[in-house]
């Protein structure tokens, strides 16, 4: 099973990605998908601008996806991350894990997102509703803690 990793400016279609992942594999009994969307922070934000490190973004997400594929018996894994200007309500990131049974799919998708947040080279900058440029979003200690729990056994 080779994970599918894509870094793109364009939006993605969750249904189409799931259909492509499961087509021709009748052994899949569970598909878990997670989509991360841009919030407006109660009206404060006009958009988020996502900067990334081309090349390393693909490589690092592929490394995380390979780790997930080693840890759980998966039939398919997809990670798509967008860059550029993304407005509230639009999709930023997609993780899909497919397996024979649900537990592996839930855990692999959760693991993929936790590690992607702390290791994939992407940075968010705020564009404010009043038209001005906001600051860079700061990394959260919660996200580091979430990633670390996978090292301690779940």
């Amino acid at each position: 099973m080779t994970p599918l990793v894509r870094i793109q400016r364009e939006d993605f279609d969750i249904g189409a990605e799931i259909a492509a992942l499961t087509a021709g594999n009748p052994n899949i009994g569970a598909v878990v998908s997670f989509a991360g969307l841009c919030r407006d922070e109660s009206g404060r934000l006009a958009a988020l601008e996502l900067e990334h490190y081309p090349g390393m973004a693909e490589a690092e997400i592929a490394r995380v996806a390979s780790e997930a594929a080693e840890r759980w018996p998966l039939s398919g894994l997809v990670a798509i991350h967008r860059f550029g200007l993304i407005r509230p309500g639009e999709q930023i990131v997609l993780a899909i894990a497919a397996s024979s049974h649900r537990r592996e799919a839930f855990e692999a998708a959760d693991f993929l997102m936790d590690y992607l947040k702390t290791r994939a080279p992407f940075w968010k900058r705020e564009h404010l509703a009043d038209g001005t440029l906001g600051g860079w979003v700061e990394a959260k200690a919660d996200d580091d803690d979430a990633a670390k729990r996978w090292d301690q056994g779940v």
């Binding site: 490190y53 992607l116 947040k117 080279p121 992407f122 940075w123 900058r125 860079w136």
Partner: protein
């Protein structure tokens, strides 16, 4: 190929997010002085190159680094590196 640590070759440096903004460049090619062996050594030297660099690395513990597109720690040796990146903690996802 062997490469003496005391004579680093020219290096491509790339910067992202507020590290890029503070330094004022997205990328540059540099030849660090002899004896620049680790990421931490490289940061110490970069901080002497001007106010923007000093501001970018004012708290070196915060800035992350990657050698040839793989995460690296301050103590990681840079011998043989072609591209070194500096950036803030990641906020994707």
């Amino acid at each position: 190929m062997t490469m003496a640590i005391t004579e680093p070759a020219s290096l491509r440096l790339v910067y992202f997010a507020w590290v890029r903004e503070r330094i004022g460049l997205p990328e540059e090619t540099v030849t660090p002085p002899a004896g620049t062996a680790t990421i931490a050594d490289l940061v110490r030297w970069l901080k002497t190159r001007g106010e923007g660099y000093e501001l970018a690395f004012e708290n070196p513990a915060v800035v992350r680094a990657a050698i040839d597109q793989t995460h690296a720690k301050p103590a990681t040796a840079i011998a043989g590196a072609r591209e070194i990146a500096f950036f803030p903690p990641m906020t994707g996802g």
